[in-house]
């Protein structure tokens, strides 16, 4: 009973905040609604017994990805009246695209058939003794190690691409070289001269 109560609570808030994401006038409010949706999705994961996925959802999406979203969106200089002005103009084409997508989704889901022999084999529940983390680790690093490594490689390539696109070394910009500063000592930095009085250097 209490699970059902929390399921409906999390599900209702998730759907409501997802609606808030697309209906909020202020983009920052949209991102905050998105965070609320992530958070409640994590709650739904906990109810399913997938507490590891729930925590990862919060750490990765809420703790890192959404922060960067917010970071970018906060710096946008948006004129809200201008944003709203083209609504009627774009309404027809938007609704046509929406209808096409909806029809496609209905066709795909409606035509979905599950192989009769596979029913009940889609998911194998873990035993009560093993924890989430152990169960995921046991398959992720053995059976799915290739996919895991390939996913890591794809992310690495994307990261290198982003760095290559943005890294600029300008000749006139002074840069700090910490190693050089640390290695600097009296021998390289100063010269001791004993000056006779009245003579100068």
């Amino acid at each position: 009973m209490i699970q059902a109560f929390f399921f409906y609570l999390f599900a209702a808030v998730t759907v409501a905040s997802a609606f808030g994401v697309i209906s909020a006038r202020n983009p920052v409010h949209s991102v905050l609604f998105l965070i609320l949706a992530f958070f409640n999705a994590a709650g739904l994961f906990v109810l399913m017994g997938a507490e590891f996925l729930a925590m990862l959802l919060v750490v990765v999406y809420v703790g890192a990805v959404a922060v960067l979203f917010l970071f970018v969106v906060m710096m946008l200089d948006v004129d809200f009246t201008e944003l709203r002005s083209g609504l009627l103009e774009y309404m027809p084409i938007g609704s046509v695209i929406g209808l096409i997508l909806l029809a496609e989704l209905l066709m795909v889901v409606g035509g979905w058939a599950i192989e009769p022999g596979m029913i009940g084999h889609g998911a194998t529940p873990i035993t009560a003794a093993t924890t989430n983390v152990a169960a995921i680790g046991a398959v992720l690093y053995t059976k799915y190690i290739f996919f895991f490594q390939v996913a890591g490689l794809v992310l690495l390539v994307a990261m290198i691409g982003a760095i290559v696109l943005t890294l600029r070394h300008k000749a006139f910009v002074k840069r700090q070289n910490i190693e050089e500063q640390v290695a600097r000592g009296p021998a390289t930095a100063i010269e001791i001269v004993s000056v006779e009085s009245g003579k100068g250097l």
Binding site: V62, V67, F71
Partner: protein, 349 residues
């Protein structure tokens, strides 16, 4: 009805009662931690510190609290009102929520969940939203700059904190915080044949570099000096708190100190054996675990306070360099080394 009472209502009452006890103890503790912070800082600078309210100034924090509560809250006309008020409440709520999984003594934990350590990491990573929302909703330049700074800073240092936690987890073999403490009951001292020297069993010795990285990252994560760039008073007046006053400001301060004490508790649990006694002989092991735990938290808080008193503030690019170019490769290398050593020697749990 009796099943309903036994299954739902009674556990609910227990949880609420436990939470209230923890909350009251924690908040009173934080009041004295703030007092200790000011006293230590004053002692380093050869001042007296708070010494007027109550004997030795012991009631100073409560006087400050009353002052904040009775002040008139001002909300700037250009501010985004809802988020402006929500931000400090969110910051405080998140800082307090992480305490639900902290084991203060053997079995003394509100929620003994399997992924306790990830929960703490997840909840403490939410702390940044209080700062960002407060800074943005103020609709003012300095708070906004501070929000941007803290967003980048806290995300950067979470990465190295995550890697440090992974090395500890490799040694423990569990994400449960109570298991982390229990795993530290055997180690070097039992291998040497002197099991009563139980402080040698703790992870501070084998994982010393990781403890240092975690400590410095915890300073950055909680916006403590020398990494308090989010509220650097010489550049940003008071950062994201410029427009805040009265109770809302107090909630931000409370959230900050609760988060600091939480990081001290995490340092004690991960590296200093949590509630365990440092010497497993009478009279030391007669002392209840909770007292040892509090003493360890106080030790780490003393370190936090001393760093605040000693170290000048970092420049922002130096902060980023330290996080991404020093700590990230170092902690990543340590994950590989620790995993390799555990695998080769067969110590892995």
């Amino acid at each position: 009805m009796s099943a309903f009472w036994a299954d739902y209502l009674w556990p609910l009452i227990i949880i609420v009662a436990e939470s209230l006890v923890l909350l009251v103890v924690l908040l009173i503790g934080v009041a004295y931690v703030i007092y200790a912070d000011r006293k230590i800082w004053a002692a380093v600078q050869m001042r007296r510190g708070p010494n007027v309210v109550g004997p030795w100034g012991l009631l100073q924090s409560f006087a400050d609290m009353l002052k904040f509560v009775f002040k008139e809250p001002t909300i700037p006309s250009g501010a985004n009102k809802g988020i402006f008020i929500f931000a400090p409440f969110f910051a405080t709520m998140v800082a307090l929520a992480a305490w639900a999984v902290i084991p203060v003594a053997d079995g003394w934990v509100i929620s003994d969940i399997n992924v306790g350590i990830l929960y703490v990491l997840a909840i403490s990573s939410l702390g940044v939203y209080g700062t960002i929302m407060g800074g943005w909703a103020s609709n003012s330049k300095y708070p906004f700059l501070s929000a941007l700074r803290s967003a980048a800073q806290m995300v950067s240092y979470e990465v190295s904190i995550g890697f440090v936690i992974i090395t500890v987890l490799l040694c423990v073999g569990s994400l449960n915080l109570s298991d982390v403490v229990r795993a530290q009951s055997h180690g070097l001292a039992s291998a040497l044949g002197v099991p009563w020297l139980s402080f040698l069993n703790w992870y501070w010795l084998p994982l010393l570099p990781m403890m240092v990285i975690f400590f410095i990252s915890a300073l950055a994560e909680t916006n403590r000096p020398p990494f308090d760039l989010a509220e650097a008073e010489s550049e940003l007046v008071a950062g994201f708190m410029v427009e805040y006053g009265s109770s809302l400001y107090m909630l931000f301060m409370l959230a900050e100190y609760v988060a600091i004490v939480l990081q001290c508790a995490m340092l004690s649990i991960l590296f200093m054996g949590g509630w365990a006694s440092p010497i497993d002989l009478p009279p030391f092991n007669w002392i209840p675990g909770v007292i040892w735990f509090v003493l360890k938290i106080l030790f780490w808080f003393f370190m936090f306070a001393m760093v605040k008193a000693f170290v000048p503030r970092y420049r922002y690019d130096q902060l980023m360099r330290l996080g991404w170019k020093v700590f990230l490769p170092l902690s990543l290398a340590m994950v590989v080394i620790v995993a390799g050593v555990l695998q080769v020697t067969g110590w892995a749990p």
